[in-house]
């Protein structure tokens, strides 16, 4: 794509003007949805490097996700959860929390939008409900602490909150958590993401460690194939890991500033990297916010063949 092989990938033109809170690839195309502290949500065509749409909100946008290729949801610091329709530039308010909404996910399994907020609740929404909270709100579920991160796989929902709590829900029965756990890491939880195969989740802390957890404890001992995953840190590095062998596979060249968010495209050929200062050291001068889209070589993410001590077995 670019001349130097050791490059950081192609930088998208027209990045947000303030910190990037999240970015996500669509499941249907190479469209990239980006939410930012500059109160905007932007839709890019990553392969064409073109800005396809922009929405302005009443507050910083803390998270975003796709509904289908033509619409998405956002979590806003002005306490609102919104639905965006890209083609018409339309936006509806799906509902409100009592505090800034930190994260939003859309469940294809149940057709619900799930939001987590600093008001210590989780709310489920029906996006088809006509505008008006009373029509779209499905349920409110109190959490032990402020919700920091959410992740979904199948019918499982993992909620990470302040105070290192981790609640695992079954979306079909939200009345109480299926499991209540504590983070196995010592420090504040930063992010949680489920394995695509649905056996567990990876959890990261502000200290920079990542723990791999399993829903079913008996699976923890077995060596299951859960593939590789990428992590990005405030050191500006993106690493690709082989979870099976607990080895680092690849480290990409350093990005200008902290990695605020990462997203693989639907086929895994593209990796979007938000290089954007995340205010870990407070308000201070920092590099401009940027989005890089790099193509992923197979070498970088393919686990190296395991050297077996006895090839016969």
């Amino acid at each position: 794509m670019t001349a130097a092989p050791q490059s950081t990938g192609r930088e998208l033109t027209g990045p947000p003007t303030d910190g990037i809170s999240n970015l996500r690839f669509s499941n249907h195309s190479d469209n990239l949805l980006v939410s930012s502290w500059d109160k905007s949500v932007r839709l890019y065509d990553a392969s064409a490097n073109a800005l396809r749409g922009e929405f302005m909100h009443g507050g910083a946008v803390l998270d975003c996700c796709f509904h289908d290729d033509s619409s998405g949801f956002t979590a806003c610091a002005d306490h609102t959860v919104r639905r965006l329709v890209f083609n018409y530039g339309r936006e509806d308010i799906l509902g409100r929390h009592d505090a800034p909404v930190r994260c939003v996910e859309y469940s294809y399994a149940t057709g619900q939008v799930i939001t987590g907020s600093w008001d210590k609740t989780l709310k489920c929404w029906d996006p088809r409900g006509a505008s008006g909270q009373e029509r779209s709100l499905i349920g409110t579920y109190t959490q032990p602490e402020r919700v920091y991160s959410l992740s979904l796989v199948g019918n499982r929902l993992v909620v990470a909150t302040a105070g290192r709590h981790v609640n695992v829900y079954d979306l079909r029965n939200m009345s109480q958590p299926e499991q209540r756990r504590e983070s196995s890491l010592k420090y504040q939880t930063r992010c949680v993401r489920c394995y695509p195969n649905g056996t567990g989740y990876a959890l990261s802390s502000v200290e920079g460690r990542v723990a791999m957890e399993f829903f079913d404890l008996s699976e923890a001992g077995q060596s299951k194939n859960y593939g590789t995953f990428a992590t990005g840190g405030c050191d500006g590095y993106v690493n690709v890991w082989d979870g099976n062998n607990k080895k680092r596979l690849y480290q990409y060249p350093k990005y200008p500033t902290s990695i605020a968010a990462l997203s693989f495209s639907r086929d895994g050929r593209l990796l979007a990297v938000a290089s954007s200062y995340t205010y870990e050291e407070g308000d201070k001068p920092h590099e401009p916010d940027a989005i890089f889209v790099r193509s992923v070589n197979e070498v970088e993410v393919k686990p190296k063949p395991k050297v077996l001590p006895n090839p016969g077995t």
Binding site: D98, P100, P127, R146, R172, Q179, R181, Q188, V206
Partner: protein
């Protein structure tokens, strides 16, 4: 003569000559005069001249006619040529040797003939094209019955140019026709797919628009009118489709909710999989034939109403079941179900149909969750209460036993009783420590939560207080009794010295039982009642527990090395760990435990302490209530006591029973196996730090985002969470 025959003129001349000669002869014979003869000859000459002239005129006229014919022909030829847009082929070439007029005419006639034929052909072509144009125009025009004016071919313009023009027009019309046809077919396709999805008869729908459209082979009407009607039909069907889709999706949603609510088996759900998978589909995503037919919708509707009915019948059942569950949990944990009466009312309301059962169910479930959470937090205190009660029971037995004058008489089973007494004494020695530990634990629990710890509706602390007061009273009484006995002894000795007889001291003792009874707290009476019935149903035994063995105070220090110390030691440990833990999680040291046991760290434990509001709830109220409650719960209490007897004597069992409840409270797991001798001194001091420790640690952690957004956790918010 033969010559004359070959030439009629010659013959005529000879005949004329012979006739003249005959006339000469006749005249000679008659003897006509010469004058007469000349006159007659002149007359003859004149007559001949006349005849010639007539013939010449005739010939002249004939020539003029031929000329006219030629001119006419040429004019026609020219006209035809000009009409056909061709250059006049043949204009008389006068300079060329013309030949006779007749030749000329003969030459021109075939040309005319030829041109006429060509013109006719051309005309036919025109007619053909015009006919087609007319036909197309008719087809394209809106009114199908309209018949055009008769075909008019402009005779004077049959040029190729004109023909081409017409053909272009024809092509344009044909193109338009094909476009329209395509549009119609498109519409028909759309209509067909809509009809398919909606389960409607396509042919009938189409025939209603225009009869010609229903025929798959025949030509279709493609007028504007028809197209508009088709578009309208499509619009109509699409509206119906959206309507039905919304209806179906609504139904599907209720289906899903009902399934979810009633745990409908997958097989039953499978039938409607097709429907429910479209719950979030948009209008153009639903393409499956008959997906939105009336049949399917009614099918789903009946299922929903079936489930709805099932639900209402089941719901009551469920509500009652849940209510039982709630009551059961409450009973097990000695909690008073708060909204018992309101629940009853709610159930009645369900029966009368005034309230939605789901609301009530949700409410109950919420209560169950709440109660479970509370029960869990009460667990270890309850365990201690049980121990305490068992100890009290033993105490009362021991008292009774001590009063038995014949207790040392060797009889059957006496050695067993002795052993029991030995054990009971040891236990009774521990009692104050148990009570103290229980009290401190309870008060720390209360501080932590800001609510009172109640036991069957009575505040546990007041129960303990009463017990302590009672114990002190008994102690004093005992002391007084002892003094009195001593005094009596002296008196008796004096009397004996005087009279030599000795009254029984027992009389006085029994008389003193009265006042003790009246001052006994209700809670204690309940305890003693339970204890008494458990043992032997002797009527005397109702009172004994109120009297406490006098040895208790003396050995207090030794006793303290038991239960309370263990707990306190543990608390010290955990609070110490607390200091290390930045997240302020008190029970962190047990992170090696499997995660399912982490429930222990329920949010309750980590919340800051809200000020104790009114811990001194009026004792009188409590005791008043107690009287009633006691009666109710006596029976139940006996049961609990019998159950709890075993865990107390065999501590290992407690653990197992706790495990069954899936709680595995670490606080219990550690103290039980530990030997009392190892952990010793710091008990009463260590219990108190609990309230202060978390307070200092309650510095709230914030994420980067929260700091950046300037988000501060509101104070009231904390409180509400605690009160859940």
């Amino acid at each position: 003569m033969s010559n004359g025959q070959s030439d009629p003129l010659l013959q005529v001349e000879t005949t004329c000559g012979s006739l003249l000669y005959e006339l000469q002869i006749i005249w000679d014979e008659v003897g006509e005069p010469d004058a007469e003869r000349d006159r007659m000859l002149l007359e003859l000459e004149q007559e001949c001249l006349e005849v010639y002239r007539r013939k010449v005129d005739q010939a002249n006229r004939c020539r003029a006619q031929i000329r006219q014919a030629i001119a006419d022909s040429e004019a026609e030829l020219a006209a035809i040529c000009s009409a056909m847009g061709e250059r006049p082929v043949h204009i008389r070439q006068s300079d060329q040797n013309p030949g006779s007029l007749k030749e000329e005419l003969r030459a021109i006639l075939p040309q005319i003939e030829e041109m006429r034929k060509r013109r006719c052909d051309r005309k036919n072509q025109f007619v053909e094209v015009l006919e087609q144009i007319q036909k197309l125009k008719n087809e394209l025009s809106d009114s199908s019955g309209y018949i055009s004016t008769t075909l008019v071919v402009d005779e004077f313009d049959l040029s190729l140019r004109k023909l081409e023009e017409l053909q272009r027009e024809l092509q344009a019309l044909q193109k338009e026709k094909s476009e329209r046809l395509k549009q119609v077919l498109d519409y028909l396709n759309t209509l067909n797919s809509l009809c398919l999805v909606l389960g409607m008869d396509f042919k009938q729908t189409v025939s209603e628009v225009h009869p010609s459209l229903g025929d798959p082979e025949g030509s279709k009407n493609i007028s504007h009118d028809t197209i508009e009607q088709l578009a309208a039909a499509i619009q109509g069907l699409r509206e119906i489709k959206i309507q039905r889709m919304q209806r179906l999706q609504d139904l599907a949603m209720s289906l899903l909710q009902l399934w979810n609510l009633m745990d409908t088996p997958i097989e039953e759900q499978q039938v409607f999989q097709k429907v429910t998978c479209n719950v979030a589909a948009s209008e153009n995503e639903i393409m499956e034939p008959n997906m939105l037919s009336v049949d399917i919708i009614t099918f789903v509707e009946t299922e929903v109403s079936r489930l709805e009915e099932l639900k209402t019948s089941k719901m009551k059942e469920l509500v009652l079941k849940k209510k039982l569950e709630l009551e059961d949990i409450c009973r097990k944990t000695h909690l008073i179900p708060e909204t018992d009466s309101s629940l009853d009312i709610a159930i009645e309301a369900i029966e009368s149909g005034a309230v939605d059962a789901t609301c009530v169910l949700e409410q109950i479930e919420l209560q169950i969750a709440k109660v479970k959470e509370e029960a869990f937090s009460r667990k270890d205190i309850l365990d201690k209460v049980e121990k305490w009660m068992v100890a009290c029971e033993e105490e009362s037995w021991l008292e009774e036993y001590n009063r038995d004058e014949n207790r040392y008489n060797a009889g059957r089973g006496a050695h067993l009783t002795l052993k029991r007494a030995e054990k009971a004494r040891a236990l009774v020695n521990k009692l104050p420590a148990i009570v103290d530990a229980l009290a401190s634990k309870t008060s720390s629990w209360e501080n932590e939560r800001g609510i009172e710890f109640t036991y069957d509706g009575v505040r546990l602390l007041s129960m303990l207080d009463e017990y302590n007061i009672l114990r002190q009273e008994k102690e004093q009484e005992r002391k007084r009794q002892r003094d009195q006995k001593k005094l009596q002894g002296q008196l008796l000795a004096e009397q004996e010295a005087l009279y030599g007889s000795k009254p029984s001291p027992m009389k006085n003792q029994s008389a003193k039982k009265g006042p003790r009874l009246s001052c006994g707290g209700a809670s204690n009476r309940r305890l003693s009642l339970g204890g008494a019935i458990l043992q032997t149903p002797k009527p005397d035994m109702l009172h004994p527990p109120k009297s406490t063995p006098n040895t208790r105070h003396g050995k207090k220090n030794d006793r303290l090395s038991h239960d309370p110390t263990r707990d306190d030691g543990f608390q010290a440990l955990s609070s110490g760990r607390r200091g290390l833990d930045i997240a302020g999680l008190p029970l962190k040291p047990h992170s090696f435990n499997p995660p399912n046991s982490r429930e222990l760290e329920s949010p309750m434990m980590r919340k800051p302490f809200s000020p104790i509001s009114s811990t001194d709830s009026s004792k009188s109220n409590a005791t008043n209530m107690l009287e009633d409650l006691n009666r109710k719960h006596n029976e139940m209490l006996q049961k609990t006591l019998t159950n709890n007897k075993t865990p107390f004597t065999t501590p290992s069992k407690t653990i197992s029973t706790l495990d069954e409840e899936n709680r595995t409270p670490k606080t219990m797991a550690i103290p039980l196996p530990s030997t009392p001798s190892t952990v010793t001194v710091p008990m009463l001091t260590a219990t108190t730090p609990a309230p202060s420790a978390p307070e200092s640690l309650e510095e709230i952690e914030y994420s980067f985002e929260e700091r950046r957004a300037g988000f501060v956790v509101p104070k009231e918010h904390l409180k509400t969470v605690i009160q859940i």
